[in-house]
């Protein structure tokens, strides 16, 4: 059975260009981070070059400065360290994205620290001076690491609330079984944690209710736009303020590995408060959301239920409750 779809939009969500607008949760739009980080990066770059050139030109002097014996072995090591420092410094100053080079600096700092601790263990010329040098490099390591982390963060691509998600999972069951489960949309809240209920209101029409913060819910109607038994289901929202579409395709996996399930979902958040809520719901990590839902689908089809652990009740949040039995059983 193939139904005709009611909207002029194509049924396959991926076939439409995504809007390129920045949403309210674009991290770069709301924070001025990155400026101070780059200045510090430049300073560290010059520091690298200075320390490196000094180590290359006057290893014995540097050895004395840090309180090492300054014998032949120490000199060789200091020259190598000098080369590495110069390379890092140039790397940091010359590239527009110095994050990688900053991490190279962190690695270099760690090597220095270990060299210093090695020299200390083998009896330094001047333990006080050596300890001071260790402390100085440890301090710079912290700066380097902080700087690399900061730049790494602010360079992350901006997230859009409006997004298309493409995810797949392979399930060790025949396509017919998977199709049957999904085609009855009332089953979906079992595997999609943000859904509260789906009511079927006709052959192709259904009413979806999703959870919202503070115990609220949001509702929309959806229409089945494509239905090829055991192969493909496509749906999209109709009317209302929520614009969402999706499709799921079932294809046999090779060598008796079950069925590949390919999902495409597309959510265009509405404006206003509802939009913010959608950003919260899908924008934070729509990819993760769909990926978890598919994992639940696999668990239900292969084992009969969604597997729970004490630490995992909150779903995909870093801050989890401790891995000990809960006082009461959470609802699912």
């Amino acid at each position: 059975m193939t139904t005709t779809h009611l909207s002029p939009r194509p049924a396959y969500p991926g076939s439409r260009q995504l809007p390129r607008s920045r949403s309210a949760i674009d991290p770069e739009a709301v924070s001025g981070r990155g400026d101070g980080g780059e200045r510090l990066a430049k300073a560290l770059g010059w520091f690298s070059i200075g320390l490196g050139l000094a180590s290359l030109a006057a290893p014995r002097g540097i050895a004395r400065l840090i309180g090492a014996r300054g014998d032949h072995a120490d000199e060789t090591i200091l020259r190598l360290v000098g080369l590495q420092e110069v390379a890092c410094g140039i790397g940091i100053l010359a590239t527009r994205k110095p994050t990688g080079w900053l991490w190279a600096r962190v690695a270099g700092d760690a090597v220095h620290l270990s060299l210093l601790s090695g020299a200390m263990a083998s009896g330094p010329e001047d333990p006080n001076r050596m300890a001071a040098a260790t402390a100085a490099i440890a301090g710079i390591t912290v700066l380097d690491a902080g700087n690399a982390l900061q730049l790494g963060r602010s360079r992350r691509p901006a997230r859009r609330a409006a997004s298309e998600v493409i995810k797949s999972v392979t399930i060790n069951r025949p396509a017919e079984e998977l199709y049957r489960f999904w085609r009855d949309f009332r089953n979906l809240p079992r595997i999609m944690s943000h859904l509260e209920s789906v009511e079927v209101e006709g052959e192709t029409r259904s009413r979806w209710t999703a959870k919202a913060p503070a115990g609220m819910t949001v509702q929309w109607d959806a229409e089945i736009t494509k239905d090829v038994p055991n192969q493909l289901i496509g749906w999209e929202s109709v009317g209302g303020r929520v614009d969402t579409r999706g499709s799921v395709r079932f294809a046999p996996a090779p060598g008796g590995r079950g069925t590949e399930v390919h999902v495409r979902m597309w959510v265009d958040p509405p404006g206003g408060a509802l939009g913010l809520w959608f950003a919260w719901l899908f924008g934070e990590s729509p990819d993760q959301q769909v990926s978890d839902d598919l994992r639940h689908f696999k668990q239900v089809m292969e084992t009969g239920e969604v597997v729970l652990s004490s630490g995992g009740f909150d779903g995909t949040h870093i801050a989890q409750r401790p891995a000990q039995p809960p006082g009461s059983i959470p609802a699912r």
Binding site: L308, S310, R321
Partner: protein, 389 residues
């Protein structure tokens, strides 16, 4: 109930927490009669495994009596005395179908965290961080066991707890370490680490037909157990250069296979060890791989490097050139315990091995925090601690 919970690196506390309940239909609740501290618990305890949180109950080696079962269980019954496998496995996914239980695709509810770090998620594990599922562990009076039909084995009457407890992890893990070496007649097997897993790997190498087994460690008490109880030859790496000694012992060939039963918190005496130690301390690499490097360099060309010591993340300076140019085979994995429980129980029953030989400490669950310290610091010749709740 009482349970040993994580407080902060280097500190656990026995606390009162709610009793576990059935959460999934295929669960069982086990009243724990014996539970052990594992070397890999020390990685959690020392703060080297990401996603361990205060309040988490530790422990993945435990056994006891089934006191409650979910309505989806078929095999386990209330009153059964069972040993529990440390990896949680569903029994019905592709990996479980191939008996790759520690790679079960369904048993880690927090798979998303592990995917970020490892690309794909392994199975859930009791009491072993949130990345590995956030399951409450077995150093407690009771534990919830998901997929209880798959993860438990019934203990025959007449066998003591101590005889069978180690089927939960270290005996199968050591055995798998030796099995992965694909031992042929005449093979010499070198095992880094004479802790519980290393000792079982050595004993298993003999069970599987090795000609000679060599144990490497620096703790004299452990080397003595390896010599006296397992009949292995030993090298103390603080007194002897391991590479030279092994070449001398094998006519320059090198061991046919090598087993790393140490993992991410290896000790060592070289400069490279110091570099790794510092980087690990600064979180620049998760694991200190000096044992792995040494083992690779020592292994004969075309031999197997079997890794059963736990690694959690990234390592540096991996000697890939040695691996590639000399046709080495690397075999590794968290143990697929469910695969080995029955045959190894049979070996214990027939008297081919007595796993109790490595128990050095028996204590009450309340003493767990002190026992962690004793075990970590290898005080009092400690090799294996068994706790009674």
């Amino acid at each position: 109930m009482r349970a040993n919970t994580f407080v902060s690196p280097g500190k656990t506390r026995v606390e009162r927490v709610p009793d576990p309940k059935i959460l999934n239909d295929q669960d069982a609740i086990v009243r724990i009669t014996s539970t052990a501290i594992c070397g890999s618990d020390l990685h959690l305890y020392n703060g080297f495994i990401p996603t361990v949180e205060p309040g988490d109950i530790f422990g993945h080696e435990f056994m006891g009596e089934v006191v409650e079962v979910g309505k989806g269980t078929r095999k386990v019954k209330k009153g059964d005395r069972v040993v529990v496998a440390f990896p949680i496995a569903c029994g019905s996914c592709y990996q479980c179908g191939r008996q790759m239980y520690s790679c079960c695709e369904n048993s880690n509810p927090n798979a998303w965290i592990a995917e970020k770090l490892m690309g794909h998620s392994p199975a859930g594990v009791f009491g072993y961080s949130h990345m590995m599922g956030g399951f409450a562990g077995g150093q407690a009076e009771y534990a919830r066991v998901p997929f209880a039909d798959v993860g438990t084995i019934k203990v025959p009457d007449g066998m003591t707890d101590e005889q069978v407890l180690f089927l939960s992890d270290i005996f199968p893990t050591g055995y798998m370490g030796a099995e992965m070496c694909d031992i042929k007649p005449g093979d010499v097997i070198a095992v880094w680490g004479c802790g519980p897993v290393g000792l079982f790997a050595m004993a298993s190498a003999y069970l599987l037909g090795a000609e000679r087994v060599i144990g490497i460690d620096r703790v004299e008490a452990r080397l003595r157990v390896a010599r006296e109880k397992v009949k292995a030859e030993t090298i103390n790496y603080e007194e002897h250069d391991v590479y030279r000694t092994l070449m001398e012992m094998t006519g320059g060939r090198g061991p046919d296979s090598v087993i790393d039963a140490v993992g991410m918190e290896a000790h060592g005496s070289t400069a490279m060890f110091l570099v790794d130690r510092v980087k690990q301390g600064l979180m620049l690499e998760n694991d200190r791989p000096n044992v792995l490097r040494d083992a690779i360099m020592c292994c004969r060309s075309g031999g197997t490097v079997s890794v059963v010591g736990v690694y959690s993340g990234l390592i540096d300076k991996f000697p890939m050139g040695s691996v590639m140019n000399r046709s080495l085979r690397i075999m590794t994995g968290q143990c697929h315990v469910q695969r080995y429980m029955k045959p190894l129980l049979e070996r214990i029953r027939k008297g081919e091995i007595d796993p109790t030989f490595l128990i050095t400490h028996r204590a009450n669950l309340d003493d767990a925090p002190a026992m962690y310290r004793t075990f970590r610091d290898k005080q009092d010749e400690c090799i294996k601690v068994v706790l009674k709740p």
